[in-house]
Symmetry: C2
Subunit: 462 residues, 2 copies
C-alpha cells in the first residue's frame, strides 16, 4: 500500500504542468453565480467539471439542471466491500468587484512567483482540480481506485446553495455514501496542515429604508424629514454594543457554549492577535473581549454589513436628501442557531426599533445552519494520517469561521459526516481582489489526497 501511494505521488509530481494547465482553463471561465449575465459561463464551467471528471476516470457523468445553475455528478463504484466517498465541491466563484483593484485580470489567470492568480484559484477551483489530479494519479498508477467514489459539484455555493438541498433529497440513493470529502476548508499556514471540525452557518438579508417618495433637495426640505441614509445608519449602529456584542434580544440564546477542553485545543492554533493583524491589515482588532480571536471566528456569531448604498456616490457633491438607503447584511451563525430563527429575531428587532418616520423592507435570502463533526471519525483519522504523511507534522484541529451549508445537508439527508480539509491559505484573498493559490501547498495537497484515498481503504480493513 505505501508503495502504491508513493507511485501515485511520483506520477503526480511528473504531471504538475498538466494539472496547472487544467486549472488555468477552469479559472478562465467567469463562473460568477450571483450575476445573471454569466448564466452561459456557468454552463461552460459545469461542462468543464464533467470533462475533468471523465479524464480522471469517473463514470456515469451527468449534468443535472436546476432552476438555478447545474450540478455535476459522476461515480466509480467498482471497489467491492470498500467505503463510498462522496466528493463535494462548487465550480462557482464570487464577483470580482472592486475590479479596478485587481493587478491582473481576474479571469485571465497567470503565475507570479509561487502563486497562481485569478478569481476562484483558491476558492475553490484549485481544490477541485487537486481532487481530479489525485484521482488521475491513482488511476494511472493502479488502473482503478482503492475506494468507491461519487462526485457532486454544484454551481451555487457562493449564493447560499439554494437548489442543492432539494437535489440531495431527490437523489438520496444515487448520492448515498459512507462519508463525504469536502476540500473547501483551508490551511492555517503552508507548514500547518489542518482538519476542520466545525463551520459557521450563514444568513443573508437586504434591508431597505425609504424616506421621502423621491430624492429631495437637501436645502428645500432638509430639517423636516428623516433622512433614510441616516435612519439606516442609526438602526445598523444600534445592533452592536460598545463591546462588539450583538444587541438583538435572543440572538445568543442558542449559541453552544465552548467547553474548557475545546478552548484549550483552540488555543494551540498559532493564530493570535498578531496573526490577525497581519492577515487583515486592520489598524487594530475588534470584537467581544471575552473571547480570543480564534474563538470569535470559530465559535461566535456575527452580524456584518456587506454593502451600503444611498443617494449620490459619484465624484464631487450633490445636495440630495435621498429617497432610500440600502444595506446588505449577513450573519455568521454557530451551533445551535437556526437561520429562520435569526431572521425572526432580526425582523422583530427592526419592527421594534425603526421609527415610523421612515418605511422599511427586509428581504431574507435564506441561509444555512452551522455544523460540527466528530474529529475522531474514521475518515477524519484517515485524513489526519494522510496530511501527516505529506507534511511530516501532526495536523491542527480547527473551527472554521466560513460556512459550507452542504455539510449540514449531507449529514441530515444522507446520514454521512464530512471530512473537511483544503489547501488554500488565509492570505489567498478569497472573495477579494487578487485571489491567488500557493502552488507548493497545492502540490502537497494533491499528494495528501492521494494518500487519503488509499488510507480510506486500509482504514476499514485494519
Amino acid at each position: 500500500m505505501p508503495d502504491q501511494i508513493d507511485q501515485a505521488i511520483i506520477y503526480a509530481r511528473n504531471h504538475h504542468s498538466d494539472f496547472l494547465s487544467e486549472l488555468k482553463d477552469f479559472v478562465s471561465i467567469p463562473s460568477v453565480s450571483t450575476t445573471p449575465e454569466y448564466k452561459q459561463e456557468m454552463e461552460k464551467a459545469a461542462h468543464k467539471v464533467a470533462q475533468m471528471a471523465s479524464s480522471a476516470g469517473l463514470e456515469n457523468i451527468q449534468i443535472y439542471p436546476t432552476s438555478g445553475h447545474p450540478i455535476v455528478f459522476g461515480e466509480w463504484l467498482h471497489a467491492k466491500n470498500q467505503p463510498t466517498i462522496l466528493i463535494y465541491g462548487h465550480y462557482d466563484v464570487q464577483p470580482v468587484d472592486p475590479v479596478d483593484l485587481w493587478e491582473t485580470p481576474p479571469f485571465q489567470p497567470s503565475l507570479r512567483d509561487q502563486y497562481f492568480l485569478g478569481r476562484g484559484a483558491s476558492d475553490m477551483k484549485g481544490q477541485i482540480v487537486a481532487v481530479f489530479a489525485a484521482l488521475q494519479s491513482i488511476r494511472h498508477t493502479t488502473g482503478s481506485f482503492p475506494v468507491n467514489i461519487k462526485l457532486m459539484i454544484e454551481g451555487e455555493e457562493e449564493i447560499g446553495s439554494p437548489h442543492l438541498r432539494t437535489f440531495i433529497e431527490d437523489h438520496r440513493s444515487m448520492l448515498s455514501c459512507d462519508v463525504s470529502l469536502n476540500p473547501d476548508a483551508g490551511m492555517i499556514a503552508p507548514d500547518l496542515p489542518t482538519l476542520v471540525y466545525a463551520l459557521r452557518g450563514l444568513v443573508f438579508f437586504e434591508l431597505k429604508v425609504f424616506g421621502p417618495e423621491h430624492d429631495l433637495h437637501s436645502g428645500v426640505f432638509g430639517g423636516v424629514v428623516h433622512n433614510p441614509a441616516q435612519a439606516l445608519c442609526e438602526i445598523i449602529a444600534s445592533m452592536h454594543d460598545e463591546n462588539g456584542r450583538i444587541t438583538i434580544p435572543g440572538f445568543y440564546d442558542h449559541v453552544r457554549t465552548l467547553s474548557l477542553e475545546e478552548r484549550e485545543e483552540l488555543s494551540r492554533l498559532p493564530m493570535g492577535e498578531d496573526y490577525y493583524l497581519q492577515q487583515t491589515g486592520a489598524p487594530q482588532l475588534w470584537g467581544e473581549p471575552d473571547y480570543t480571536p480564534v474563538e470569535r471566528i470559530g465559535a461566535r456569531p456575527t452580524l456584518e454589513v456587506n454593502g451600503l448604498f444611498s443617494g449620490f456616490t459619484g465624484q464631487g457633491t450633490k445636495t440630495v436628501l435621498p429617497a432610500y438607503a440600502m444595506a446588505k447584511i449577513s450573519c455568521r451563525i454557530v451551533a445551535d442557531q437556526e437561520p429562520d430563527e435569526i431572521h425572526r429575531l432580526l425582523r422583530h428587532y427592526l419592527e421594534q426599533h425603526i421609527p415610523s418616520t421612515v418605511r422599511w423592507e427586509l428581504n431574507y435570502f435564506g441561509g444555512a445552519p452551522a455544523s460540527i463533526t466528530d474529529p475522531n471519525h474514521p475518515a477524519a483519522t484517515a485524513m489526519k494520517k494522510a496530511l501527516e504523511l505529506v507534511w511530516k507534522t501532526r495536523p491542527l484541529l480547527k473551527r472554521e469561521g466560513g460556512s459550507i451549508p452542504v455539510v449540514g445537508d449531507i449529514q441530515k439527508i444522507l446520514g454521512a459526516d464530512s471530512v473537511l480539509t483544503g489547501f488554500g491559505l488565509p492570505d489567498d484573498r478569497i472573495h477579494s481582489p487578487n485571489e491567488r493559490l500557493h502552488l507548493p501547498t497545492w502540490f502537497k495537497g494533491i499528494e495528501a489526497l492521494i494518500a487519503f484515498f488509499y488510507l480510506m481503504k486500509s482504514n476499514l480493513q485494519e
Copy 2:
C-alpha cells in the same frame, strides 16, 4: 408707466411659444457641472446664454473662462441717473441619477399638461429664460430699458461656485451695481408669490472610513475586525440625538435666534405639517420638536447624508467584509454660522469619536455662509409691488432653506443687497428625477419681471 408695462406684457403674451422654444434649446444641453465628461456641454451652455443675452438686447457680452466652467457677462448702461441691476443666474444643473427613475429623458425636454419637463427646467434655466423674455419684451416695446442692466451667469452653482468669488473680486468695477436680482428662489404655490429674505449656507464633506487593507471574507475574518461600514454607520448615527438635534459640540453656538416677530411672520406661511407631508411623501415629519417645519427649514442648520457607499451593492449577495465605507455629508448652515468653523467642529468631533479600530479621512469641499437681507430694501419693495400687480395678492416673505452663496459674496464684495424671487414651485422636483416647470406660473413670472424693471425706475423717482 403702467401703459408701458401693459404693452410689454402683451408682447410677452404673444411670444410664449418663442420663449418655450428658447427654453427647450437651453434645457437640451446637458450642462452638469460636477461631471468632468460634460466639460464641452458646459461651454455650449455658456454660449447659449451669451446668444440669448444678445437677442434680449444686452451689449458687451463676454464669456470669461475660469479654471472651472466659464462665466457669462453682459450689460446695457444707457439709462442715465437710473439704478443698475446686476442679474445673477447659473446655467449648470444637477446630475440626473438615478436616471432610470426619469419618465422622459432628462435632456430631451417635453411638454406634459401644464408642465415643461427636463433637468434644469426649474433650477434654473427656466428662470434665466424668464429674465431674457422680460428684457426682450421691454426692449421690443420701448426700444430701451428703464434701468441699467448687468448680467452675470455662472456655471458652477451646483458645485458650490468655487470660482465665482474670485471673479467678482477681480471685476469689481465691471460688476458694480445698486442691487442684484436673483431669480433662483422659488414660490410657495402657484397663487402665492414669494419674496425670500434669508438663505441657508452650505458646507460639503466626504467621510471615508477604512478597516482592513482589502476586502475580506466575512466568514474567515468576521468577528475580529471592525467592519468599516458599521463604523461609518456608528459615527453617523451618533451625530443626531433622538430629537433630531445635531450632537457635535459647539454646532449651534453661532445660530442666530429667531425673534418672536419673525416667528409670527413665518407662521403666516401656508406651510404646515400637512404641506410638507404632501410635498415630500414621507410617512411622517421629523426634526427638532421646538421649531415649526418652516422654522426648521429656514432658520435651523442640518447635517445631512447625501450618499453612502460600501462593499457589494449589486443584485444578490456577497459575503464580504468591506475594506472601506464612504459617506457624502453636507450641512445647511444659518446666520451666523461659518463654513470653516463647521469644518473645524466636525473634524474635532470625528477625532474624538471614531475609534482606533478603523482609519478615516475627511475631505472638505468648502462651502458658503448663510445670508439675510432687509425685506424693506427699495428693490425688495419694487419686487413686492411687481408680484402683487401680476398675482393680485400681497406676496409672502420667506426664509429659504436652500443656499445661494453668491448672495453673500455680492453683498460682501460689491456692497449690494440681492432681491430674491423666482417662479419655480416646491413640487418641481429640482435635484430629483422628473424635474419640471409649471408653465402658467412661469408666464406670470415673466410679466412680474417686466413690471419689476419698470418699477425699479419709478421706485427711485418717487
